[in-house]
């Protein structure tokens, strides 16, 4: 079954590449998606296992593919004359060759794959949400090419990389052999490059190249970590993830490679100062963004840091990671406030939440790790939904600007409703994201500086989401909004994710107890969350002798309150046309309720315009980026320094 999770997308991708017919291709994609979803659920039911493939010489096979990918980077670098890509292709090629020819030829390990509960959580996210996004992409890419008046369809190629991505991600979360993990890591970087550059515009290619070299620095750190581990620990067994986190090795020796691997995770998770590649990735068609932000790519970064958390528990490195992640959470939330483009707000919010997850891994208590896993899940669902909403909106108004979305509630009520729920689910109780943030804040006092960043970032989060949602809702006093029609390929993933927000959110108690608790135990021992009585989540203090209660979150009651507060008024309270009034304009109104004109100077009829606040002068990118990036670089140096100091 594990082979299906990794190889089926590869096979399906190749098949898609061969098929030229729109409908036949759709059937293949939908069938693959359903197979992946069923497969991931079956895997989770069967539970953890280990596996080592035999027969073919897989080690050699993977090594050859590694070289192929790196040589392809070189080719890209030379054709684009992008020397950064060339440099970082060489910094990977040369150490790789050194390792391969001088140290150890195509290293093999047993077990090559270790699938534990954390991997299963990840594969569920990748398979379910990733598949839904692939289905969404079918119709989206059709509309996209239709709008762009392309003569030759490139949808097959697009879907190939999209589906392949899911396979590589599954491999990444299953791999135990660090060398193989590195391979899957590079495949995701490659897929990412191909998808960002898909539209072949100059901007797309430039941004894709930036994503490539930034991630290639991470790949470089990865390969150096492998070499260092192998050289100091002597032996293949040192390159097993399970040995690395099992505590079998001397902490002082392990810390530097772990710090390097965390750096790799930071590049992939687009943490400051690497945020620009993920922002640049916005030029790609929206399904790509949805995939990169929710279930793949960036989640690989936080997965790696979380996976390595036991290896740096109780060290200064752990605190450094907590503070670095928390700083990114704060700085990118501030930047999100100043953004005028919907997708850039989403992008900054993603980076911010990834920073929060990484900070939780750095805080490294049972509570914060549980928060990190919950945040990974809920963020994947909500952000996946929001990107698909952004794509749907874009194909209705052909714009990504928030100001152009003014009054969308009247033009596309259904899309607006779904988007509004998606936005609310990102930052308000009782939704899962807030639940995760609440647990994170209750755990954050261990690293007070991180706690303070959390507080500031949470506040800024409220500001930028409310601002955006407010623009969607701004409507004229008019009744009878016609409901828009959405293609099934749009609406099916949207509704599934919407239901997912509520299903996982309401059922989080039992889900945590029966499944996520085991995943938490893959990272840290002990438990601090209990589900008691009427579905209350009860947090307890870290001391195991006396279980003092830290906080209580009543889940079902709060969802009930949400229904009473918002849903019932929406459904029950009607408004008659006779009850409508124009807005207050000091009596200078022109005409009836559905005009937005007033009598200006000399009774000239003038349309009035309203706009949002964007705080460009205080929180704009130009203002914030220089100092925020500097602080982020200093923090990164400190983080890696924590690994170096231990050796000296």
């Amino acid at each position: 079954m594990m082979a299906i999770a990794i190889l089926l997308p590869v096979a399906a991708g190749l098949l898609i590449l061969a098929i030229r017919n729109y409908y036949a291709r759709n059937v293949v994609v939908v069938a693959t998606s359903i197979a992946l979803i069923v497969n991931s659920v079956l895997l989770s039911i069967n539970g953890p296992f280990t596996y080592t493939p035999d027969g073919v010489n897989w080690g050699l096979f993977i090594t050859i593919l590694d070289y192929a990918i790196l040589l392809f980077y070189l080719y890209i670098g030379f054709t684009l004359r992008n020397w950064l890509v060339v440099i970082f292709a060489f910094t990977q090629l040369i150490p790789l060759a050194y390792f391969e020819f001088i140290m150890k030829a195509h290293l093999e390990l047993s077990p090559a794959f270790v699938v534990d509960h954390l991997s299963l959580v990840m594969t569920l996210i990748i398979s379910i949400i990733g598949s839904l996004i692939c289905i969404f992409a079918l119709r989206y890419m059709y509309d996209h090419e239709h709008h762009a008046h392309l003569t030759k369809s490139r949808q097959s190629r697009f879907l190939f990389w999209l589906v392949l991505f899911l396979g590589a991600m599954n491999g990444l979360v299953f791999a135990n052999n660090l060398f193989w993990l590195y391979f899957f890591w590079e495949v995701t970087t490659l897929c990412c490059y191909q998808l960002i550059s898909h539209d072949r515009t100059q901007e797309a290619i430039n941004n894709a190249a930036r994503a490539l070299w930034m991630n290639a620095t991470g790949g470089t750190a990865f390969i150096f970590a492998i070499i260092y581990l192998y050289a100091t620990q002597g032996g293949s067994s040192a390159l097993s993830v399970q040995t690395l986190i099992g505590g079998g090795m001397q902490a002082s020796v392990v810390l530097l490679p772990v710090a390097l691997l965390c750096y790799t995770g930071f590049t992939k998770a687009a943490q400051m100062p690497f945020q620009s590649w993920l922002l640049g990735a916005m030029v790609a068609p929206t399904p790509v963004s949805a995939l990169l932000h929710s279930s793949t790519m960036v989640k690989a970064g936080v997965y790696l840091v979380l996976r390595l958390a036991p290896a740096f528990a109780g060290t200064y490195l752990s605190i450094a990671i907590a503070v670095t992640g928390a700083f990114t959470f704060f700085a990118t939330s501030a930047l999100a406030v100043s953004q005028t483009t919907g997708k850039r707000v989403l992008a900054y919010s993603t980076i911010a939440n990834l920073g929060l997850i990484i900070a939780c891994a750095g805080i490294n208590t049972p509570l914060s790790v549980a928060a990190a896993i919950l945040l990974i899940i809920f963020h994947a669902i909500s952000k996946g939904l929001l990107f698909l909403c952004a794509g749907t909106i874009e194909h209705q108004i052909w714009s990504r600007e928030i100001e152009d979305m003014e009054g969308l509630a009247a033009k596309a009520p259904l899309t607006t409703l779904i988007t509004a729920v998606g936005i609310l689910s990102m930052f308000l109780p009782p939704f899962g994201m807030l639940l995760g943030k609440w647990i994170a804040l209750e755990a954050a006092y261990m690293v007070p500086l991180a706690a303070i960043f959390f507080v500031l970032a949470s506040t800024l989060t409220i500001v930028f989401w409310t601002k955006w949602l407010g623009r969607l809702l701004q409507v004229l006093p008019k009744l009878g909004w016609p409901m828009e029609k959405l293609s099934l390929s749009y609406s099916a993933p949207l509704w599934t994710l919407l239901v997912g927000i509520f299903a996982v959110g309401i059922g989080v108690g039992p889900i945590y107890q029966n499944f996520l608790l085991d995943a938490t135990h893959n990272v840290v021992s002990g438990n601090q969350i209990f589900v008691i009585g009427w579905n209350n989540l009860v947090l307890t203090s870290a001391s195991f002798i006396q279980r003092d209660i830290l906080g209580i979150f009543p889940i079902w009651p709060l969802y009930l309150i949400l229904v009473v507060a918002l849903l019932l008024p929406l459904l029950l309270i009607g408004l008659k046309p006779t009850e409508l009034r124009p807005v207050y304009l000091c009596g200078e109104q022109v005409g009836g309720t559905d005009t937005d004109e007033w009598s200006a100077e000399a009774d000239q009829k003038t349309k009035f315009l309203l706009g949002g606040y964007y705080f460009q002068s205080s929180l704009g990118e130009k203002k914030v980026n220089p100092w925020a990036n500097t602080i982020a670089i200093v923090l990164l140096v400190i983080m890696i320094g924590c690994g170096v100091i231990v050796i000296c």
């Binding site: 509630a409 308000l428 109780p429 807030l434 609440w438 804040l441 209750e442 006092y445 261990m446 007070p448 706690a451 303070i452 507080v455 500031l456 949470s458 506040t459 800024l460 409220i462 500001v463 409310t466 601002k467 407010g470 623009r471 809702l473 701004q474 409507v475 004229l476 006093p477 009744l479 008691i532 009585g533 203090s541 003092d548 209660i549 830290l550 906080g551 209580i552 979150f553 009543p554 709060l558 309150i561 009473v564 507060a565 918002l566 008024p569 929406l570 309270i573 009607g574 408004l575 009850e579 409508l580 009034r581 807005v583 207050y584 304009l585 309720t593 937005d596 009035f608 309203l610 606040y613």
Partner: protein, 293 residues
């Protein structure tokens, strides 16, 4: 903790709060108007004038400018009430702050869901107010955790030593928040109780009749909630805390009458500098002296 007897007590407590809080809140606003009038050399309306106003508003015609308005004003009211219930049930203070945040966001979205310039100004400013007070309240919750090792309000009542002794810098910061939340000068920025606003009634401009009455109702619950939060600083015995809260209330009235309205930008800057500094120093001091409990 989850016994039947306990449940019954809690149920009675919730009902008592639902009924009692608006009575107390309305009365407080009546006192506010009376005292303010006296300070300004006027006679002022009777103390129960807010109730007269409330019922008068309820009897008015249903009119609106957008269907979305109702949803958010109900959201504002319901989440305000729920926050108060969290307080009287002595639940989680951090979650309470988040729920209060939902109430605030609802009011802002209510202003945004009309194409009205005045409501928009008000909503934007209300959002800035949230930006100003939310971090202080969150730090306050963390400060309580730093001191007590728990976010539960019930834990505060178990301590013999009042929070005021260890959290007095945060007390000052929360007083500042009280001024913002009570919409008193110098922070009556998003909407005001006095008719001297350049943005008419700000965020509530487009609410009228029964829906405006709901807004007032929510405000009554809010004032009780805020004074309740202040009284947590001296929870044992609670009457001292309530006394402190009432003194703080009177102090706000005084400040309201001697201060001029400031700009929203000034408010945010002040809050993010002095307000946050007070909270951060307070928490850092506890962390350094007590460590992680």
């Amino acid at each position: 903790m989850w016994g039947d007897r306990h449940m019954l007590e809690q149920f009675i407590l919730v009902i008592a709060t639902l009924v009692g809080a608006p009575l107390a809140g309305g009365l407080l606003f009546g006192i506010d108007r009376k005292i303010t009038a006296r300070l300004q050399g006027r006679y002022g309306p009777p103390v129960i004038q807010p109730f007269y106003d409330f019922f008068k508003l309820l009897g008015k015609e249903h009119i609106a400018v957008s269907r979305l308005q109702f949803i958010w004003i109900y959201g504002y009211l319901v989440f305000m009430v729920v926050s108060l219930i969290f307080l009287v049930l002595k639940s989680d203070i951090l979650l309470l702050v988040f729920l209060l945040g939902f109430a605030g966001v609802s009011l802002v979205l209510g202003g945004f869901s009309t194409k009205s310039p005045y409501a928009h100004f008000g909503a934007n400013r209300e959002l800035l107010q949230i930006m100003a007070y939310e971090p202080v309240l969150l730090l306050f919750a963390i400060g309580i955790y730093a001191q007590n090792g728990s976010f539960l309000i019930s834990e505060i009542f178990k301590q013999d030593k009042p929070l005021l002794f260890s959290l007095w810098p945060l007390f000052l910061a929360v007083l500042y928040v009280l001024t913002i939340k009570m919409r008193k000068s110098p922070f009556d920025i998003a909407t005001s109780h006095h008719g001297h606003q350049e943005i008419v009634k700000g965020v509530t401009t487009e609410y009228s009749g029964p829906y405006f009455a709901l807004f007032h109702l929510a405000e009554w619950y809010e004032i009780v909630l805020l004074l309740g939060i202040i009284s947590l600083f001296w929870a044992n015995p609670l009457w001292v805390g309530i006394l402190i809260a009432l003194v703080a209330f009177l102090l706000e009235l005084l400040v309201d009458n001697i201060a001029a309205r400031m700009t929203a930008r000034w408010m945010v800057r002040l809050s993010w500098s002095i307000g946050l500094l007070l909270g951060v120093i307070n928490i850092a001091y506890i962390y350094l002296t007590k460590g992680v409990s």
